[in-house]
């Protein structure tokens, strides 16, 4: 088992014939992801990825013809919010938006439409998710995760790789690794992913990777303290040495008015029963210290 994606996933890639879309779709297919369709308006009827994947003009066509239930968006920033809306309208319930650089105001009504439709959006500006052994959606390199029972949630891309690699090297496999994205307006927060992990019978431990800015990590920690009290859990927060008022690459990563500091997040996480690592490489040992025997 896993969360968000797994053996029941039937994936449609929006923007499959673009440079990025094609490159990563190929990797997803090679990983074994059930990639059943692609969408590029005007290229319906063709085949993508050496004849392996049919291309449709609309997501609705793809859903009707292939039973796609999950989408992954590689559409450029100007068209990505519309691509999310198209997925929602076509009845897709799990939507990954990989695209970065979408203006924040464009995402506000889109996130609301997703919510009203009862769908789930991961991202934008996210690396996607991988459920080792069954599916990967997005661009987390397939060589890093291993099958297992640790749930990993993180905002960023390469920092997620770093944490997952450390777990894999230590023999601790993962149920699902999720990158939720570094933008200020994202569809799914840490706490939402924790709620899914809490319901997943095959996730037995938790790794939460956060960074400075906002209060999402604190809210997730408080929820976990109550609802995942018996789940071994560890965390890492990036940005302990970041100066206040500077936006550290991610639009979300800014300390303003003394709020969103690494110190306040570490304190909240520790109070909520997380062991907080000083380096991603310490996460496996801390998870074992917390009682995880996987």
């Amino acid at each position: 088992m896993s969360i968000l994606i797994g053996r029941d996933t039937r994936l449609v890639v929006q923007g499959i014939t673009g440079r990025e879309g094609e490159f990563h779709s190929r990797a997803m297919l090679e990983y074994g992801t059930p990639l059943v369709a692609g969408v590029t308006p005007g290229k319906g009827g063709r085949m993508a990825l050496d004849g392996k994947v049919p291309v449709f003009n609309t997501v609705a066509d793809a859903v009707r013809e292939t039973g796609a239930n999950t989408s992954c968006i590689f559409v450029p920033a100007g068209g990505a919010p519309d691509a999310v809306l198209e997925s929602v309208a076509a009845g897709i319930r799990t939507i990954f938006c990989i695209t970065e650089g979408i203006p924040a105001l464009d995402m506000i009504p889109v996130v609301e439409e997703v919510r009203l439709a009862g769908a789930r959006l991961i991202g934008p500006n996210c690396p996607g998710a991988t459920s080792p052994g069954s599916a990967k959606v997005g661009f987390i390199p397939g060589s890093i995760p291993r099958e297992g029972r640790v749930g990993v949630v993180s905002r960023s891309g390469t920092l997620t790789y770093e944490a997952v690699q450390a777990m894999t090297d230590a023999g601790l496999g993962q149920s699902t690794c999720v990158g939720i994205g570094g933008d200020p307006v994202i569809g799914t927060q840490h706490i939402d992913v924790l709620k899914l992990f809490a319901e997943d019978p095959d996730t037995e431990a938790l790794v939460l990777i956060g960074e400075i800015g906002g209060t999402a990590e604190e809210e997730a920690a408080a929820w976990a303290a109550v609802h995942m009290a018996d789940v071994p859990r560890v965390a890492f927060i990036a940005g302990r040495t970041a100066p206040e008022g500077k936006r550290m690459g991610h639009a979300g990563a800014i300390i303003s008015g003394g709020k969103g500091t690494a110190a306040s997040k570490v304190t909240a996480l520790e109070a909520a029963g997380f062991r907080v690592a000083g380096s991603p490489t310490e996460l496996p040992a801390l998870l074992r210290e917390a009682g995880y025997r996987g």
Partner: protein, 394 residues
């Protein structure tokens, strides 16, 4: 991107908001000419002008960047003083000149992006003219928060509710209209923040000399969403090059995110989260990072070489740590860029390289042939870079 008060006010005026007249002066004589016009205005209730430094930092008043003048000579002198200032390291190149307002009552009103709710939020207070962060500490009950609807924006009733909650008294209609105008401004230019402090009731004189009060935007602060700037090319002219490190400009050209810091270990990393982590681990190993540098995803060798030039422009840099976890980015491309950059390097700075992930084996071969110092783990790389910087310092 932050923009100057005068530029922010021009955006407010373009969206129909009430802002008292102003002029921008680059020289004391220009300031004098502007002051003469405002002093001659019969509506000017104080008979004075205000001269405000246009710099992109807070605390202008405390730094001597905001002053009043009662006549043309004084205005010219004051403008000369302010134009000679450097505030928090930034030169004052322009001043705003306007009528000194007779303030009856000061309010605070802003609209900003609230990440937690994924909505826009108004913050208002009848305690304006002071830092809102201070009001939040001293008298949190004096602050009103109200979200807008993600689909409808702000209907009239919601604007009225906000105006009554803040307590604009007789000026509630103007308050509601201004709230709607701030939201309109935010949406028109893709701002992250539109802040008016103070939003003030001021007293002016009618043509016949009778006093009249109105609610106006006395100050204005707007920050723009960088991701949306490509669709507002006209706003690029508001960019203040003084407020940006020259390296920022260079970084933007190569699609790099670079922030200069105080330490001596230059860092080159792919990904913002990992770049922050790398800084943290340098610090933990007893060193100080000289910069935050994210080369982004899929960087090719030319971008890597540009990143290396940026790092080396900082004379404080005594060692360089390169940390790449290849996903989209290919390790061998980075290695080629490093080798190219070192060939052009004018200054001999020790470099520790850690490349893992996509094409790491190819990268290792290239780096070994070129005799780079490498590291397997991030912790090891940080320790080696710190040792190298200390060795260089000794």
């Amino acid at each position: 991107m932050k923009i100057h008060e005068a530029d922010a006010k021009s955006l407010l005026v373009a969206q129909g908001l009430p802002v008292p007249a102003w002029e921008v002066a680059r020289t004391p004589s220009q300031a004098r000419a502007a002051a003469v016009r405002f002093l001659a205005d019969p509506g000017n209730a104080t008979g004075k002008v205000v001269i405000k430094a246009q710099v992109l930092v807070g605390g202008r008043g405390k730094a001597g960047g905001v002053k009043l003048a009662a006549n043309a000579d004084e205005a010219e002198d004051v403008a000369a003083q302010i134009l000679a200032l450097e505030i928090k390291g930034l030169p004052v190149r322009r001043v705003l000149v306007g009528p000194a307002a007779e303030i009856v009552k000061e309010y605070y009103l802003s609209v900003l992006l609230d990440r937690a709710t994924k909505r826009l939020m108004f913050i208002g207070s009848a305690e304006g003219g002071v830092e809102i962060e201070q009001v939040a500490v001293d008298n949190p009950g004096a602050i009103v928060y109200q979200h807008t609807d993600p689909l409808l924006g702000m209907p009239d009733y919601a604007a009225r509710e906000l105006a009554f909650k803040i307590g604009f008294g007789a000026h509630w209609k103007a308050g509601a209209a201004i709230a709607k105008g701030l939201l309109k401004t935010m949406l028109a230019y893709d701002a992250d923040l539109v802040e008016i402090n103070p939003l003030a009731v001021i007293r002016e004189h009618n043509a016949d000399g009778t006093p009249v009060e109105r609610l106006v935007c006395l100050d204005a602060k707007i920050t723009l969403d960088d991701s949306a700037l490509p669709r507002h090319p006209q706003l690029e002219e508001f960019r203040d090059m003084d407020a940006e490190d020259p390296t920022d400009v260079e970084a933007r050209r190569y699609d790099l995110t670079f922030i200069k810091l105080e330490g001596d270990i230059g860092c080159m990393v792919n990904g913002a989260g990992l770049a922050m982590t790398t800084m943290d681990l340098v610090n933990r190993a007893g060193g100080q990072p000289a910069n935050f540098l994210d080369i982004g995803g899929g960087a090719k060798s030319d971008r890597v070489a540009a990143a290396m030039r940026l790092i080396l422009e900082d004379p404080n840099v005594k060692a360089i740590l390169v940390n790449i976890f290849g996903g989209i980015t290919r390790g061998d491309e980075v290695a080629k860029g490093l080798i190219e950059a070192r060939a052009q390097q004018v200054r001999d700075v020790p470099m520790v390289v850690r490349i893992v992930g996509t094409n790491a084996a190819e990268a290792a071969e290239l780096l070994e042939a070129a005799r780079f110092v490498t590291a397997a783990s991030l912790d090891e790389a940080a320790a080696k870079a710190v040792a190298a910087a200390k060795g260089a310092a000794a």
